[in-house]
């Protein structure tokens, strides 16, 4: 049984000038317990709507959504105490201090000063806790939002675009925080369109486009779905390199002054030998790794979303 189970979820929104927009079109998804689950998709793919359905903020038109084994439409109040979340931008009272915001939320669930200190410490906001939220940078607000989500000591964290608007240092901080939360055995369901971040953080991913699931599974499996790219080789004379490799039965093309060789990285030695035999010494030889972004673009190409 998954921590999050979604079956046939469909949600449409009425447009102001008539007609309807399908935000989620029959989504099926299962998120297992523990670790970081990346929920990927371009803007408008239906990620936030799915999350809002999951948290009871939006009523699905059809389909089942279960959180911790409980049907969200009926039993959400019974499990919400175990679920921390940020939906889009963390919304906090700007004229209150960070600590005061957490105190207000903590009162709903009986969380006291000790728990507030712990989460502030964890997100590195202890020193600025007494400052008004309106004086916080975007990254600090994001961290305060995560602190609010952690205040319940949740077993499931639902984070919608937690790295949105952060500077590189902030992105790294949030990434490490999410990874550590996943390593603690919590289930972190994180939506993002920054694929490189998710690739470094997530254990499993699901790719969504136009409200439908395109691909889901462990990160390495999803990466394997991308076509193999072979190896990249830099030599002083690329044309001579192509000829030398062809003589060794290796297909190669020139791509931006670099040789792209159609061979598994494990066979890199063959490439080196062929080039050295032709008196060409590679200044660079590396695997042309498939990243999540590439896979994502390939998978969504048929959906008309990839550039």
């Amino acid at each position: 049984m998954g921590v999050i189970e979604i079956e046939g979820l469909r949600k449409e929104f009425r447009r102001l000038r008539g007609g309807r927009t399908v935000a989620v079109a029959g989504l099926d998804l299962e998120v297992p317990e523990g670790g970081v689950f990346g929920f990927l998709g371009p803007n408008g793919a239906g990620k936030t709507t799915t999350i809002r359905c999951l948290l009871g903020l939006v009523r699905p038109d059809s389909g089942d959504v279960r959180l911790l084994g409980t049907d969200v439409t009926r039993g959400l109040p019974h499990v919400i105490g175990k679920v921390g979340s940020i939906v889009e931008q963390p919304a906090l009272f700007p004229r209150f201090s960070g600590r005061r915001n957490l105190e207000i939320l903590g009162r709903i669930d009986g969380r006291g000063a000790r728990e507030i200190d712990m989460v502030l410490q964890r997100v590195g906001l202890m020193e600025r806790a007494k400052d008004l939220v309106k004086t916080y940078s975007l990254g600090m607000k994001q961290r305060l939002g995560i602190a609010a989500a952690l205040l319940k000591d949740p077993s499931v964290l639902v984070l919608d675009e937690p790295a949105n608007g952060l500077d590189p240092a902030g992105i790294v901080e949030v990434r490490e925080l999410i990874r550590s939360l996943g390593d603690e055995g919590r289930t972190v369901f994180v939506s993002s369109h920054i694929l490189s971040e998710v690739q470094q953080t997530a254990d499993r991913v699901a790719i969504l486009a136009r409200g439908r699931l395109i691909k889901a599974g462990p990160v390495h499996e999803v990466l394997a779905a991308g076509r193999a790219r072979g190896m990249l080789v830099r030599v002083s004379d690329p044309d001579a390199g192509v000829r030398a490799l062809a003589a060794a039965d290796l297909d190669a093309t020139i791509d931006g002054g670099v040789l792209r060789v159609d061979v598994q990285p494990a066979d890199g030695e063959r490439v080196s030998r062929a080039l050295v035999a032709a008196d060409l010494y590679p200044s660079e030889l590396r695997a042309d790794e498939v990243d999540l972004e590439t896979v994502f673009l390939e998978l969504t190409k048929d959906e008309g979303l990839a550039p």
């Binding site: 009871g56 903020l57 939906v87 963390p90 009272f93 669930d109």
Partner: protein, 296 residues
Amino acid sequence: MLFVAGVILIVVAMVIAAANSHKPSPDDVARAEAFSQQQFARCMQGRFLASKEPPPDFATLEEFCRVAAAPAPAANMRLSDLALVTEHTGTFTILLGVAIAASLGGADWTAGTMTTLLTWEPRRIRVLLTRALVVVVVVSAVTIVLQALLIGAFGVGVALRGTSLGTPPDEVRHAFEAAFRISAVAAAFGLVALAIATVGRSTVAALGVLFGYLVLFEGVIAGFRPSIQDRLLVRAGSVIVGQQPIYDMSGETSFVTGVSQQPILLGIHEAWVVLAFYVLALVGLALLVFRARDVN
């Protein structure tokens, strides 16, 4: 902030009132008392009324005459006006309550914190009813404290620059009764503002719709069709605050103890019923809308 503004307004108003008043001289007091005695004698002869029967609110004619012929020395600040002053500031007090309630109701929508709140407490009916309770408590507390300050400040003004001569013994009690009625009406109007802020998801929407409705719609309707005044929110509020029914001026006049009276269009008890109906209907509507609508 609204509370601080209210305190400042009271202080400024009382300073201006005190500056325009003065303590009556011993001669003024003596003249007022002599005139009062003459008036009292005339009243006891039944010359203030069509008959010697006391009006409905008084047990005896003497009781009526003590009030009607009370000495009134020349001074702008008189303690005998305390209840009247409290009632007349009621409109501002109620509007303050509306502004506070609309702010409380709209703040979460404006700041976007409703999403956060609902991810902590998804039972929306409980959320809205709790907010309604908060509105009632906060509006009641703020308006009572401000009116107590007003009564206190007026008392200080009277002591320094006015007179308490001719003040009925239960004037302060009447003033506090008026204050409690005003606070109750302010809390009820606050609930109406909360309901509109919840449906409109904004403080500005609540204030705009409510003031538009109360000032323009009810004002225009009451002007064109006076007979439906018994169903209007503002009229109900003013009847409760002033404890004065609205009479049907088109009805047949009757005579009670020699005093002519029109039939009552909106009595005090009916005014409470009208007010309660508006509050329950709008809070009920807000509950339905809040429960059903998506929070995006």
